[in-house]
């Protein structure tokens, strides 16, 4: 058996929206399918990226999770890939929690996925992400990849 890629119009409208200082710049995520946190030097913290999952189909989603799939070349350790969720959009929120591991199998049940509450039936809460680079680490042009997981019924 093989994975089934959903091709119906009713679900192809899943989109990740990226915000920066209140402005929606989702074309960036559409192009790369991932987020580039910019240039970060050893011991520095990246800009915070604010994002949300939107589901434009008639049906609702539940059980939303976010997994860290690819560290972009950074050797994983706790407290590097930070995350906070909030029902509010706030440019001043700084992530305080962090991913405890990499979802290496890409599975929805992976223990390192982080549960994200719904803001509505079709939208996740706002997710705040940044990278806190250790003093002995470098981050070049690597792309950090995340993956959404969610349930829907139809």
């Amino acid at each position: 058996m093989t994975n089934t890629t959903i091709t119906t119009n009713s679900i192809s409208t899943v989109e990740t929206v990226r915000f920066s200082r209140g402005q929606q710049i989702d074309q960036i995520s559409r192009k790369f399918g991932a987020f580039n946190f910019g240039t970060i030097g050893p011991g520095e913290t990246s800009e915070t990226i604010i994002t949300t999952l939107r589901f434009n189909a008639a049906k609702a989603i539940s059980n939303i999770k976010l997994g860290l799939i690819d560290t972009g070349g950074i050797t994983f350790a706790n407290d590097i890939f930070r995350i906070t969720t909030s029902p509010a959009y706030d440019d001043d929120i700084i992530p305080t929690s962090y991913f405890l591991g990499v979802n290496s199998n890409g599975s929805a049940s992976n223990e390192y996925n982080i549960a994200i509450d719904n803001l509505s039936g079709k939208m996740s809460e706002y997710v705040y992400l940044n990278i806190n680079l250790p003093r002995n680490a470098n981050y070049g042009a690597g792309v950090v990849r995340f993956k959404w997981f969610f349930d829907y019924d139809d």
Binding site: M1, T2, N3, T4, T5, I6, I11, S12, T13, V14, E15, T16, S29, R30, K31, F32, G33, A34, F35, T51, L53, K59, S62, N63, G106, S107, A108, R145, F146, K147, W148, F149, F150, D151, Y152, D153, D154
Partner: protein
């Protein structure tokens, strides 16, 4: 073929392939099955409430939405019992979640 099949209180039978929307019948379901190719998973009949859904994933560009697994289940007291079939391997697992 992968689809759910449901029978309702009035004896009518529905399945995912005939265009039936789950939300339109879910409150009247008295029997529920999940067909996954050659596998058929059946739940006990006449449970108080049934449930079915798919677990999907999406990368950040939204163009690659994939079904990871699909499940059927029922409510039993304060628990939800789910039987899940992995889309890739066909493996079947049972989950009990306390609500």
């Amino acid at each position: 073929m992968k689809y759910w099949y449901a029978k309702t209180k009035n004896g009518n039978e529905y399945n995912e392939l005939d265009g039936t929307k789950w939300n339109e019948i879910k409150d009247d379901v008295i029997a529920l099955r999940l067909h996954v190719d050659e596998q058929i998973v059946s739940l006990p009949p006449n449970m108080e409430k049934y449930h079915q859904a798919k677990t999907a994933s999406s990368d950040f560009n939204g163009n690659n939405v994939t079904i990871e697994s699909r499940y059927i289940g029922f409510f039993l007291g304060n628990n939800i019992v789910r039987v899940r079939v992995d889309e890739k391997s066909g493996n079947v697992s049972v989950e009990v979640e306390n609500k």
